[in-house]
Symmetry: C2
Subunit: 360 residues, 2 copies
DNA sequence: CGGCATGCTGAAAACGGTTTCAGCATGCGC
DNA sequence: GCGCATGCTGAAACCGTTTTCAGCATGCCG
């Protein structure tokens, strides 16, 4: 294995210098005279020398790689973050190891361990809620492996900085918008909240806004569904066929909202005339949905960039342990409007044996 | 650095055995008697020992990591593939290093080099077209680093197996569907074709289908746009305001198609009554667009899985160098139908000074 | 009961870099 | 012209693990 690979020794020999000099040429060029440097660089290039990262990492104690664990890459919002993270990391000379944990705490702990074995110099995590084993593992190495949590503004009980936004506040604002429009019957299709502090915070935000208007949120007006389009579709159908259907549905993310939009359409409802629907994330299809989706813009790329900057800095030396709370603005578009003055025709009981109640 | 980290030596000392034995316990447990194995495992657990990957890689010559370079992670289709790749790799004990090259050959070559420096044991690439430097770099190590190309069925001129699908054939089939419906004025909004064999193959496939019916494809009916929703929107607008607008628009991917759908809507056109639109990729929003998008289902996850299987096998020992061509079926949905019998009202010139030509 | 496989275990040599430390010029000041 | 500080360069130690090789029991067979 690696038989024919050209090593630093080959370069040194060919250039007539010591391996120390070759190493210096690449790592601290200022320490080598210009002439020698050029000669070494030349022979290295000619021989096609590629330094072997493992040896470098072993000798220097730094792998120049950072890890990132996201719930899933399937969701574009995480993919965008990872893309930004990688590009920024690249600019600092770091490679990125990614793993997805599928919203599973045990699997996440396992991935953290595997990444740590790889000698990563930093780690990006999503959300504030992680098994204690994760923090223990991170502290094991000395100095402790720097880490950041993203997607959250929680600053308590976590030994690492967070770069995120306030999920609860964003959810609250979008519901306030609905309340201002006059909605009172507001339902929510949330993502799974167990072990997911972001999803839970969004529910809490919705509750808070509702509570301020004397409203509450409980099943069947609150349902939890996996973050998929078909689930949003099914959830909307269930909600809208309730005896007392909501006039607005707040969705935990854009996938659920897109499904809800389709569900409403399937029932013959016009959005936003008959029903208002909101999303969360502002994925690229949100603004082009029919109708364009009112949603919360999540700063996915910016979180990735800032996480990269922090981790790159922290890998070199001590970096300030600051928490960053980014903006997550509500994007008002065409899927929300004033509630219908009466129950939409499409939702009225098919038989008109009780017209009075249907028109109430 | 790593001062307090517990090493294999610490475990050996604590367990009263040699480092060789500890190493064997983890790598070839069968060589160690059960009792000893249990003792070593116990102390390792107690001490919180985590093997250091760099040292392992250096000593064993394998990093147990593979790399993947995609054009971008922004596009869900690649993210899905990477997610599947990572999960499958994980099952084989491999970590995944990802990088995005932004549809830029030079940047890709650079990323390949960086990944190789990291000592990856395998590499997944997208598409068949890569700078020669890439292949040279891959062959530099001995034995050569195994690689796979995905998203393509090209089998010529590439020293590595491909796991993909036939872009041209899929594009051809979707156009044949349009032709069968009776369309003759078929336009295409393609992705950028320079350095992108997939985009080029899709154009070629459209051309081939058209040619079989005596039709051609050329600007302004053929335009190239970045793969974004707004670009699809703009392109559709440009196409539909042509003196002789198309009755069907074939889009290079679903993002462009979603934008085109919105563009048609903006002009007051009903899809598919007044205009047919097709996509490519079958992202999760495609089936829930308004109307649901006729598109090509790209086996993104399956390519990721198969690439993982191949690379994991090839990293261990020689693996069969087979090319795999997966299915990429056309998903017939509601965005395609027979062409309108006359120019849609919305597209007719506002002034009726030439009614005869408008009704032609 | 002795000799010989057989099977575990430990000592030590890689693996390919980085980095410390010492040595050797070189250039400067006197 | 000599001594000394300065600045490059090279020799060698070291990073943590795997793996080869030899040695030592042990068990089996004759």
């Amino acid at each position: 294995m690696r038989d024919a690979a050209v090593t630093i020794r080959d370069v040194a020999k060919a250039a007539g210098v010591s391996v120390a000099t070759v190493s210096r040429v690449f790592n601290r060029p200022a320490l080598v005279t210009a002439g020698l440097r050029a000669r070494v660089l030349g022979t290295a290039e000619r021989l096609g020398y590629v330094a072997y990262g493992a040896a470098r990492a072993l000798a220097s104690g730094r792998s120049r790689a950072v890890g990132a664990i996201v719930p899933t890459l399937d969701n574009q919002v995480f993919a965008v973050c990872i893309d930004a993270l990688q590009q920024r990391l690249d600019a600092h000379g770091f490679a990125l190891l990614v793993a997805s944990a599928g919203y599973d705490a045990a699997r996440e702990a396992r991935e953290v361990r595997l990444l740590l074995e790889r000698g990563i110099d930093g780690l990006m995590l999503v959300g504030a809620e992680h098994p204690p084993a994760v923090w223990a593992l991170l502290g094991r190495r000395a100095p402790a492996v720097p880490a950041v949590v993203t997607w959250t503004s929680a600053v308590v009980d976590i030994p690492v900085p967070s770069i995120g936004f306030d999920n609860a506040a964003a959810a609250r604002r979008i519901v306030e918008h609905l309340l201002e429009l006059g909605h009172r019957r507001i339902a929510m299709v949330a993502g799974p909240t167990v072990g997911n502090d972001r999803a839970a915070a969004r529910v809490a935000g919705v509750r808070a806004a509702l509570a301020a208007s004397g409203l509450t949120l409980a099943p069947p007006y609150l349902s939890e569904r996996p973050y998929t389009v078909p689930d949003g579709h099914a959830a909307a159908l269930a909600l809208l066929t309730l005896p007392d259907p909501p006039t607005a549905i707040v969705c935990g993310n854009d996938h659920l909202a897109l499904g809800a939009l389709a569900g409403a359409r399937a029932l013959g409802l016009a959005v936003p005339r008959d029903l208002s629907i909101t999303g969360f994330d502002d994925l690229d299809f949100a603004a082009y949905a029919e109708p364009p989706l009112t949603t919360v813009r999540v700063p996915a790329a910016e979180m990735g960039q800032r996480a990269a900057e922090y981790l790159a800095a922290a890998a070199i030396g001590p970096a300030p342990l600051v928490g960053t709370v980014l903006e997550a603005p509500v994007m008002l578009r065409a899927s929300t409007a004033r509630p219908p003055s009466r129950v939409p025709a499409a939702l009225r009981p098919p038989r008109c044996d009780r017209p009075a109640s249907a028109l109430r």
